[in-house]
């Protein structure tokens, strides 16, 4: 997939000028605080994703009330107009050529993977960050899983509403059968979510270990597994938990409390990996996600990396560019001076006070080749 153009209105500090992306790699350069990450965030939102910085829509809106992002993409031989608008009253709305579509359709139309410093939470953060990572991968790997994720979320809210009513003394004559029905529906949706997640994780693990091998022994020996294990039966667990759940007024087991466990040699990785190792591991994990989504979508996903060269030596920079995909839009933001990448065939977008100006595909042209074709 290629992102050709992007226009935002009322989004963070970005101006409403059209941003034209080059056909391959795009380097967004500029000082800190100019809006480089904001631009990448706008791309993520257009692709049906949430902010990788975990920002709420009202935080991203310049006036706290509304914003809109429009983009033109190319898939195969067809061009698509995609847009997302948000307002505090109506929430998020996606459109394809002016016709409303669901966020799942939008993320299917614009497959994309983003890597930002915040993603270190996949390894060092709370379980929620790992669930979010896996569910995002799942939407790209198997879009149909989205319906089951949504159903589980809904069933969980409904069952929690009933449990909190029961806790507050609303246990009526019909409550037993009513709660049993909600428990059964929740377990059914939860089993589906766990099945999708385990299968998505298996597909991920296969690609991850392939990528980790050349990265060195310390990465090749890392594996990731789903918690709880296969043997856990949700309906049984919920039935056992019921007395505590009735007292607490909420659901205490299920996919919304599951986790991923990173381990090396069968020992949990957390606390045993250096900051540098975590950084590399997360980059490998996101690259693996990109490949999983590519293989499933049959369309090369866009790849966006925020602050891509932070902490990279010149040697690892070369390796980084060698591993970067072609044939799709890649957006890389950096606070470094553009002279740090003299031979990289990329379109350079200078970001200053929310405005971008382009040099054109400087490196590619200097090589006398067409856009994005030259490799370092």
């Amino acid at each position: 997939m290629r992102l050709l153009e992007l226009t935002t209105r009322g989004f963070r500090n970005l101006s409403s000028d059209i941003v034209s992306f080059g056909p391959g790699w795009n380097l967004v350069v500029g000082e800190n605080g100019q809006g480089k990450t904001n631009l990448l965030e706008a791309v993520a939102l257009l692709c049906g994703q949430r902010s990788f910085r975990r920002a709420s829509p009202s935080d991203m809106s310049a006036d706290g009330e509304s914003f809109s992002i429009e983009g033109t993409l190319r898939r195969g031989f067809s061009t698509e107009d995609l847009s997302v608008e948000w307002s505090s009253g109506a929430g998020r709305r996606f459109c394809r050529s002016g016709k409303e579509i669901s966020f799942r359709e939008a993320s299917g139309l614009a497959p994309a993977v983003f890597l930002a410093p915040e993603h270190r939470a996949i390894v060092t953060g709370p379980p929620e960050a790992r669930r979010r990572f896996l569910d995002r991968l799942l939407l790209g790997y198997r879009p149909a899983a989205g319906a089951d994720l949504a159903a589980y979320d809904r069933a969980l809210k409904e069952r929690n509403a009933l449990l909190s009513r029961i806790r507050d003394g609303g246990w009526g004559r019909e409550s037993t059968a009513e709660l049993e029905a909600w428990t059964e529906e929740l377990a059914r949706a939860g089993d589906a979510v766990r099945r999708h997640r385990r299968e998505g994780l298996a597909a991920f693990s296969a690609v991850f270990s392939e990528l980790a091998k050349p990265a060195g022994k310390e990465y090749a020996e890392i594996s990731v597994s789903y918690l709880p294990g296969e043997s856990s039966d949700l309906l049984e667990t919920l039935e056992k938990m019921l007395p505590i759940e009735r007292a607490r007024g909420r659901t205490l087991a299920g996919p919304h409390r599951d986790d991923l466990l990173w381990s090396r040699h069968g020992r949990p990785l957390e606390g045993r990996a250096s900051a540098g190792e975590v950084h590399r591991l997360v980059a490998l994990a996101k690259t693996a996600e990109w490949r999983v989504v590519r293989d499933a979508a049959g369309e090369t996903p866009l790849f966006g990396i925020d602050d891509f060269d932070a902490g990279l030596s010149s040697a690892s920079l070369d390796r980084f560019f060698d591993g970067l995909p072609e044939g799709t839009t890649v957006v890389l933001t950096t606070a470094s001076d553009v002279s740090r990448f003299p031979a990289v065939p990329a379109t350079v977008l200078h970001m200053s006070a929310g405005r971008t100006t382009s040099d054109g595909a400087r490196a590619a042209e200097s090589h006398g080749e067409s856009h994005g074709m030259a490799r370092i």
Binding site: A151, E158, E178, A181, W182
Partner: protein, 196 residues
């Protein structure tokens, strides 16, 4: 200048399902610009239909005669009872011409979030209707979380009666609404119903 009458009309329209502020204003403008008879016809239709249309005392669907047409048809199969959420669902199933039994309209589905429990939908009336004569209860609630749970709940409540309880099989996406199912899909889902 505030037009109180206009504002009132807009706010009444906005209470209707699926009508946002913009549509409400558009409808209000339309009625105020159209000839007076147009508006009179609409208000008459609303008040007369409220007078004429009521719930069937047997199956709860909307009807002008009580019992409703379907409940009054002697050739209908009384051993087969189809449970739906809304009167509109009856029409959707009738269109398929596949179902020759009788109906029961719940007027909703279980949703603790919306404060809808078993007492807020007519499960009690359904249980009263499941006499020994009834051989099968077909649960045709919507294929979303609330509809599925309502089906599970009803199946539990009907268990002591020993009646056969089936759930229609949806070729519809999860989270859908049977009201928007085409006739072929609807017919197939009735045909492929499975035992709960």
């Amino acid at each position: 200048m505030r037009l109180k009458g206009f504002d009132r009309l807009v706010s009444e329209f906005q209470r209707l399902p699926g009508i946002g502020a913009k549509s409400a204003a558009r409808l209000a403008y339309f009625l105020l610009r159209a000839p007076r008879e147009e508006a009179d016809r609409l208000s008459q239709a609303i008040s007369e239909s409220r007078e004429a249309v009521r719930r069937c005392s047997v199956c709860n669907t909307l009807t002008e005669t009580d019992p409703c047409e379907i409940c009054s048809e002697p050739e209908r199969d009384s051993t087969l009872l189809c449970v739906v959420e809304e009167p509109g669902n009856v029409a959707a199933i009738e269109k398929t011409r596949e179902f020759r039994g009788r109906y029961h309209v719940l007027w909703g589905a279980l949703s603790p979030l919306k404060g809808i429990g078993p007492e807020e939908i007519d499960v009690a009336g359904l249980i009263r209707r499941v006499t020994p004569e009834v051989r099968e209860v077909v649960l045709a609630t919507n294929p979303n979380v609330e509809g599925e749970t309502t089906a599970l709940y009803i199946a539990r409540r009907l268990k002591p009666t020993g009646v056969r309880v089936t759930r229609i099989a949806f070729g519809l996406p999860v989270g859908g609404d049977i009201e928007y199912a085409d006739e072929v899909t609807m017919a197939r889902s009735l045909e492929n119903r499975r035992e709960l």
